[in-house]
Amino acid sequence: MATRTDFGPPYFRDMLPPVIQKNYGQWKYHERIKPGLLVHVAESGDRLWTVRVGSSRLVSTDWIRDVCDIADRFCDGYLRFTSRHNVEFLVSDEAKVEPLIAYLDAHGYPVGGTGHSVTNIVHTQGWIHCHTPATDASGIVKAVMDELFDYFKEWKLPAYCRVSLACCLNMCGAVHCSDVAILGIHRKPPVINHDIVRARCEIPNVIAACPTGAIRPDPKTKSLIVNEEKCMYCGNCYTMCPGMPLADPVGDGVSIWVGGKVSSARTPPKFSRLVIPYLPNNPPRWPEVTAAVKNIIETWAQHAHKHERMGEWIDRIGWERFFDLTGIEFKVQLIDDFTLAPETYRSTPTFKW
């Protein structure tokens, strides 16, 4: 049979529980009953309870079947996932809410992540499936979420705290606007294996792939040379040519960024900014990374006003005070020297000691 194409995704309306079908677009308000539990009330008076559960995102089909069983038992067979990879059980019968939560607690599904909590960490492939990672994704996420678990389960923070992770500069996690971002970085140019280059790579394509024009042909070796000063470790050359691996146990590691936000609530979206330029890859639990993230979040939690996101707090107290309070050393790597650098320099004698 000829394969059909371009038929698109399943129509979402077939995936909506009856209570949503009925009250679609007619929601009036919501309440956050407790961490992980929301109720939305419709103009009609109907109510929809949402129970949010943390997920490892990298899941087996068995796990999917498990959550389907739960949805069948408590939610008439409907559930959804969130933009941060949590599961949301959609309950229309109040009587089933607490039993559901009890069941989830009993079976190790973490209920939480709503409101002023640390919700799931948007992340990427890392060593699981990508070819340019400077670190693993799922492993750090697991270690960090174990450390921050209480902040997922309870409301102990002044405001939202979005933590994201990406395993290389491509930033698939779109970490660039997160309260706390964990970013894998390479720090060494590719090490060229001339035999592989000669044998398996299209020299012109490799040269063309380099965004900074750092690669040029080497007539002598009939291979390539990388101008190390120009290389910003993007890995595009490796994508084109297996003879130019970037990955390096010493060069690779993790950087920490803070103060970004996405929503326009109160203040416009902000970029996250570099505060720790490098931490080593220390699997399986990356203790340096988890400690750094926890320190930043708890320092913020201790000093910020209510509803003040990480970046809003820093804007109020000033970056000099941020480094002060967190005890993080201000390193030269943090000073911008890229294209918009002047915008980040201080042009006033007003600052704090």
């Binding site: 038929f7 399943p10 899941v59 699981i128 070819h131 979420m145 326009s264």
Partner: protein, 400 residues
């Protein structure tokens, strides 16, 4: 189960440490899959090796895919195929999710069956762009897998230089703030642009994300070339009785709401418990509504603000998307919006260099050129501030 005998269960001392702790463990998930699938077993082994070596062990290979599609599959090959033969080829399928990531269990189970049959039994729910990520299978399995997916009504998502799988927030499905029907709009656009989604023909990837209000729950502003954000043009709906209720319940309206209003356009009279909003000065940041959803509601003249150019840092630095249309009505058949999208893509397609995102092209050729090409008038809402430099290159037409 014959498979099982082939290899002993993997030894993974390092990864095992990640089965400790309260957060759900992906290692446990991998082991569950490994109990059934060779691929998952070798994936575990290779990952353990990566944890020892502190580097990844994947490489890029040739383009792989399925009949009639240019994208939707990410080719991946182990760089240690002898050591981990079952993942020598380990390609990912990106499957287009339903709007808002809503599912019924029947569909999800069908999906699991297909993937157990053809792949590793491992998935990401979901990928960072929003797709269902079917994580890893051999080249030979791609077509059969897709055929079975088609049977149960799942199509592929985007990859490569095409329109990537667009996504949207839960919107009218479960949110009173939704100013536009994010779910329906997403489905409509996805269906309208199937060709752009499945057959890479752009200079580079192009991402569309839709949020129902300025809270931007799909992070459209930083993550999409074209961001559609719900908003309103009239006044916030205010229910005085409910306002008083909040106050009576001890909620600090002065401190938590009025004082944090970025435009300072609210006034609170504690004595009479009355809240006033100078709507002309309100910039619709959502803060007050977010804190008092029972008392304050978004306006009634609804539509969207369109922003373009958002992206991650490669190559010239990350960009947040920029306002190009302050307000547009968003109603089926969405003609005005689609005409704009077509014009934008057409201009980008004609002028963009290979691997140049829309925002980078706008910066290279100038916002002025872009606005002219897509026929949008300059308005102050487009800028945070006018230029501070005198380097405007006058068009001879303008000098008379």
């Amino acid at each position: 189960m014959a498979e099982d005998e082939k290899l002993p269960p993997p030894e993974t001392p390092l990864l095992d440490a990640l089965e400790q702790g309260p957060w759900p463990s992906f290692v446990t998930e991998m082991k569950r899959a490994a109990a059934k699938k060779e691929m998952a077993k070798d994936l575990l082994r290779q990952l353990e090796r990566s944890y020892r070596d502190r580097i990844g062990h994947w490489k890029h290979g040739g383009i792989v895919g399925v009949k009639g599609y240019g994208g939707g599959v990410i080719g991946r090959y182990s760089d240690l195929p002898e050591e981990f033969p079952a993942v020598a080829e380990f390609h990912t399928l990106r499957v287009n999710m339903p709007s808002g990531w809503f599912y019924n269990t029947k569909k999800l189970r069908e999906l699991c069956d297909v993937w157990d049959k053809h792949g590793s039994g491992l998935t990401n729910l979901h990928g960072a762009t929003g797709d269902i990520i079917l994580l890893g299978t051999q080249t030979a399995e791609l077509q059969p897998c897709f055929d079975d997916l088609a049977e149960i009504g799942f199509d592929l998502g985007g990859s490569g230089s095409d329109m990537r799988t667009p996504s949207c927030c839960v919107g009218p499905g479960r949110c009173e703030y939704a100013c536009i029907d994010t779910l329906e709009l997403l489905y409509d656009l996805t269906m309208t642009y199937q060709d752009q989604l499945h057959r890479p023909m752009f200079p580079y990837k192009s991402k569309v994300k839709i949020s129902g209000c300025p809270n931007d729950c799909v992070a459209a502003v930083p993550r999409s070339d074209i961001a559609i954000i719900g908003t309103w043009r009239d006044r916030i709906r205010l229910d005085p009785a409910e306002v008083a209720n909040y106050a009576n319940a001890g909620f600090d309206i002065a401190g938590e709401v009025v004082a944090l209003c970025p435009t300072r356009c609210m006034t609170w009279d504690a004595a009479s418990k009355t809240l006033k909003i100078d709507d002309a000065e309100c910039n619709r940041c959502m803060h007050c509504i977010n804190l008092m959803p029972k008392a304050l509601r978004v306006g009634q003249e609804k539509g969207a603000t369109i922003l373009v150019g958002g992206k991650a840092p490669i190559v010239h630095g990350a960009l947040l998307s920029w306002v190009i249309v302050p307000f547009m009505k968003i109603e089926p058949p969405y003609t005005e919006l689609k005409e704009l999208l077509d014009k934008i893509w057409e201009w980008w397609d004609e002028n963009g260099k290979m691997r140049e995102r829309l925002g980078e092209l706008i910066n290279r050729l100038g916002m002025r050129t872009f606005l002219k090409a897509v026929g949008l008038p300059p308005v102050p809402q487009m800028v945070k501030a006018p230029r501070a430099n005198p380097y405007y290159f006058w068009d001879p037409e303008e000098v008379k």
